[in-house]
């Protein structure tokens, strides 16, 4: 039988598949951060259980960590306790932790690929919905809850229901300055935040093949925003080239064997998907979200929609309440929307390529009067690389703040946040009400679009720059 990549990975990880119970899937890699793990360690302790395979775990601190003045003690006592608990839990269980001061520290989904910890064909989990990022390597990677974190620590398996498969085909060439982020937003706009529920997406087509590994990570990262369990991109030469020589990549002794296996993972020619969606890359304008859901997006050359333009009553009501929250009037040109704060960073867009393109746009400009612009590298390695290339200087000269790595304003747990009514251009992944601070108004964009908005003080169609 012809199989999709998802089905191949699923079949090779089945430990138990018996009638009357959920199939048990083996887990190869378990990623951790401080927010969703403490209660799992507590559960393990209370039941007298041990971590089954400590080597399968890589942990970091990212959600609550300050992105400036890191030498000072953490001011928030509850955040401080969470950070200390993480360190203690990792020490007690012999886990590999990149703590706040470690040169490998950063956002979990940026750090993990840097060290080659995820390979094609693996099953990867983390108590974090953006685990989908690692699908860029052809690994089945998905977010889990804290009870499941405990389950994986104790058993190295998870009871799982098999997902349906969806193929998202993007063919052709992207226009100038359109990026993986714009593809991700355009897909969510097209199928909605529940469009992928129950599915694992495989992204195919020439525009996907053309993406760098960083771009593929951005794309898969936001599979969850379309409701999908996971996103996948077939491994190819770019994947192998990226992995080769990294710390946890297969050594030369096993490289050929691993490579042969990875090549066998690609979906069989003619394998059937349960659903297929097609987009044309050239049609994807740089995207800007206008509402409070990642499906509420439009091209930068468009206007804020009017509630009446939605035939569906639920969508009309959602548009009404989003516009009220966002303080926007129907039919306003997107390029007329002013911004107060610009954020470049997160597990979606905190990689070196993101800072390169943003720096290219920011070079020689100045941040507009009254606008705050912050650049938060996804990891210390990204930060170092950017500094080696002189990108930090470009940002600083333009009036940006150049910070230490962390999740920062993506979910605003660490004190970096919007105040009520403030409006951001943000390269993160969610624009929910209050996501970046209570009453804060988030517009999701690509790094290039964010950089252009910083100097103009409003959104700009970067294709015209």
């Amino acid at each position: 039988m012809k199989k999709t990549m998802y089905e191949k990975i699923w079949d090779s990880h089945l430990v138990v598949d018996e009638a009357g119970q959920a199939p048990l899937l083996y887990v190869d890699r378990h990623l951790m951060h401080e927010v969703t793990s403490p209660q799992a360690f507590e559960g393990l302790r209370l039941s007298g259980r041990k971590v089954r395979n400590p080597q399968s775990i890589l942990a970091t601190m990212d959600h609550c960590v300050p992105t400036k003045n890191r030498d000072l003690p953490i001011a928030d006592p509850i955040a401080k306790k969470q950070i200390e608990t993480m360190a203690e839990n990792c020490r007690e269980n012999g886990l590999n932790l990149y703590d706040m001061k470690n040169p490998n520290n950063g956002v979990i989904h940026v750090v993990v690929p840097e060290h080659g910890f995820v390979h094609p064909g693996m099953v990867v989990v983390c108590g974090d919905s953006h685990t989908a990022t690692h699908g860029a390597f052809g690994a089945l990677a998905f977010g889990i809850g804290t009870s499941e974190v405990e389950h994986v620590m104790a058993t190295q398996t998870l009871p799982q229901k098999k997902s349906k498969t969806m193929q998202v085909v993007v063919n052709g060439e992207l226009s100038k300055y359109a990026s993986a982020k714009d593809i991700a937003l355009a897909i969510t706009g097209k199928i909605g935040t529940a469009g992928g529920t129950g599915y694992v997406i495989e992204y195919t087509g020439s525009a996907i093949k053309d993406l760098s590994m960083e771009g593929r990570m951005t794309l898969c990262n936001m599979a969850i925003e379309a409701g999908a369990r996971a996103g996948l991109v077939a491994p190819d030469e770019k994947t192998y080239e990226y992995l080769k020589g990294r710390e946890f990549a297969p050594s030369s002794q096993y490289w050929d064997q691993a490579l042969a296996y990875w090549k066998s993972l690609v979906s069989d020619e003619g394998a059937e998907f349960d659903a297929t969606i097609t987009l044309t890359a050239a049609d994807i304008a740089p995207q800007v979200s206008w509402g409070t859901s990642p499906e509420q997006v439009i091209g930068v050359d468009g206007c804020v929609p009017a509630p009446e333009s939605f035939a569906d009553e639920i969508k009309r009501k959602a548009c009404e309440s989003a516009l009220a929250y966002m303080g926007l009037k129907p039919n306003t040109k997107i390029t007329d929307i002013p911004v107060d704060l610009v954020f470049i960073g997160s597990c979606t867009n905190g990689r070196i390529e993101d800072f390169r393109i943003a720096a290219q746009v920011a070079k020689g400009t100045k941040v507009a009067k009254g606008v705050i612009a912050i650049a938060v590298p996804g990891s210390y390695h990204v930060k170092q690389q950017a500094e080696d290339e002189g990108l930090d200087k470009i940002f600083i000269d333009a009036g940006w703040e150049w910070r230490d790595p962390g999740c920062s304003m993506c979910l605003a747990m660490n004190g970096d946040e919007l105040t009520k009514g403030q409006r951001s251009a943000s390269t993160s992944n969610r624009n929910f009400e209050g996501r970046q601070g209570k009453g804060g108004r988030t517009h999701l964009v690509s790094p290039a679009m964010a950089a252009a908005a910083a100097s103009a003080g409003h959104f700009v169609d970067i294709r015209n720059l």
Binding site: V15, V16, G20, Q21, A22, L24, Y26, D28, V35, T36, P38, Q39, E42, R49, R52, Q55, I78, K81, Q82, T85, H119, G127, D128, S129, F142, G143, I144, G145, T146, S147, E148, E150, A154, T155, Q156, T157, P159, K161, T193, A194, T197, G227, P250, S251, Y254, W255, A258, Y261, S293, I314, A318, L411, A412, M413, R430, F432, E433, G434, R435, K438
Partner: protein, 203 residues
Amino acid sequence: MEPYKKHESIAALMDRSNVDTDQIIPKQFLKKVERSGFGVHLFHDWRFNDNGTDNEAFELNKPAFKGAKILVAGDNFGCGSSREHAPWAIADYGFNTIISTSYADIFYNNCFKNGILAIKVDKDQLASLMAEINANEGVRFVIDLENQKVITPAGNGFTFDIDPFRKGNLISGLDDIGLTLKHVDKITAYETRHKQTYPWLWV
């Protein structure tokens, strides 16, 4: 986990779609290292005014919904982040049942790990339940998981589908990890094979 029993309870209504986990439990409450005490923060940003008083316009603050164990809500409930703090807050507030047309995958899994029955209904069934609550706020529904039935005074009841594995675990209050560890020999055997097939993962 408490075993899930047949009960009759007030059904509260949230006529909103795409309720996300950032709203269910806003990020400022995710720093605790315990599992308990999240109920007071449930829907914090909608539920309270800036000065900390109850926002009377928020539906769950209606006196008629006080003590509700059943939450009836719009499509795609629980989308967004994987935070299990969301079902912890829902359960701690007092709900043990949610009725909607659809849920985000991770949230749905998380509910069943915490003794919450998440019932999926079709659009028409949801509309009639919502209409019944709107016409009679404080109305009590019966949830009979054993027989997979929802019973309402106005006769809008129905039978619902549920995965037998999830149902069994809810009714018995069983610990998933204990169940999985019954298969520990198979896990060990899998790992032995795995080491031979993919040796580079184990060095």
